[in-house]
Symmetry: C2
Subunit: 177 residues, 2 copies
């Protein structure tokens, strides 16, 4: 199977979270040209965080994409010069005030390689303790909520957790556990 | 928890797959303004397809986002006027040549409500039989591969399936099974 070969890449627009690029490509085997539009962005992290009692720490926030309050696993962008693991700990602390005793990478996945160039690092943070308060950006408004394992599993099956990245994180945790 | 209120929405750029919009928003409780960038796109479907023998039908294709050959569950865009279920059957047939005896919705999730407005419908297609050949667009180059359930589960745990949406689909199947 031959790969598409990009012949020209053009920057179209940059936002604080991603930039949009056009890739003018050629397929050598099929001998066709095609324009692909790429969202270029930093890597992301997402964290399944467990308290010392084994409860799962979730966050609720308003998401403008769907105009809903969504229940999610904590997550964020890996800043330049920061490791994914440090980002996971930082975002967990900032969004929830909880700090983990142990953090392990469950999985690194391509976020959506059809249109994006970045990866998501999914972490498991264990024995988290509330060591401080939330430290939110001015554009963040986040509620913290703890749930039993079985409650979370039921919400994945029947509704209540509808953000696909949070479902991926939690499903990985349940599958790997 | 108050919601962000969009005051002005501006179209920035349209591609065949998504369009980029700027939402100038205000938060009534925090009394701050913030610009959000939204990717507006059609809904997507994704299919866990099983043969009559219980093998899982995956597709391999070159993805320009990561410049990798990725192993995935079949998927695609719900065209205007088409139901998600019809799309799932159509995409499965076009990408693989297999047709299902039964198709059921496992889950509808928000794709990524932080930046996107669309949903992904995850289907389970059962008793699929090879009834024809692939019917690909000129820009598609897709290989079909069948795997045992346990092989797929191992590839989610240890590598081999690295596309986050495919991992979500397959994890949902394993969790709900």
């Amino acid at each position: 199977m031959e790969k598409w070969s990009p012949r020209k890449i053009t920057d179209i627009f940059s936002t604080p979270v991603f930039s949009l690029k056009r890739m003018e490509c050629h397929h050598p085997e099929k001998n066709v040209d095609h324009d692909f539009y790429l969202l270029s962005t930093l890597d992301w992290i997402n964290v399944v965080a467990l308290t010392e009692d084994g409860e799962i720490i979730l966050v609720r926030q308003h998401r403008l994409g769907t105009n809903e309050l969504t229940l999610e696993t904590p997550g964020g962008l890996v800043e330049r010069g920061e490791s994914p693991e440090s980002t996971a700990i930082r975002e967990l602390c900032e969004e929830t005030g909880y700090f983990p005793d142990r953090i392990t990478l469950m999985k690194k996945l391509a976020a959506n390689p059809a249109i994006q160039d970045n990866h998501i690092y999914f972490y498991l943070a264990e024995n988290c303790r509330k060591t401080g308060e939330q430290d939110l950006d001015k554009d963040e408004d986040i509620e913290v909520a703890l749930f039993e394992r079985d409650q979370v599993r039921a919400m994945i099956r029947s509704g209540g957790i509808d953000h696909s990245i949070a479902v991926t994180a939690l499903s990985l945790y349940f599958l790997m556990d």
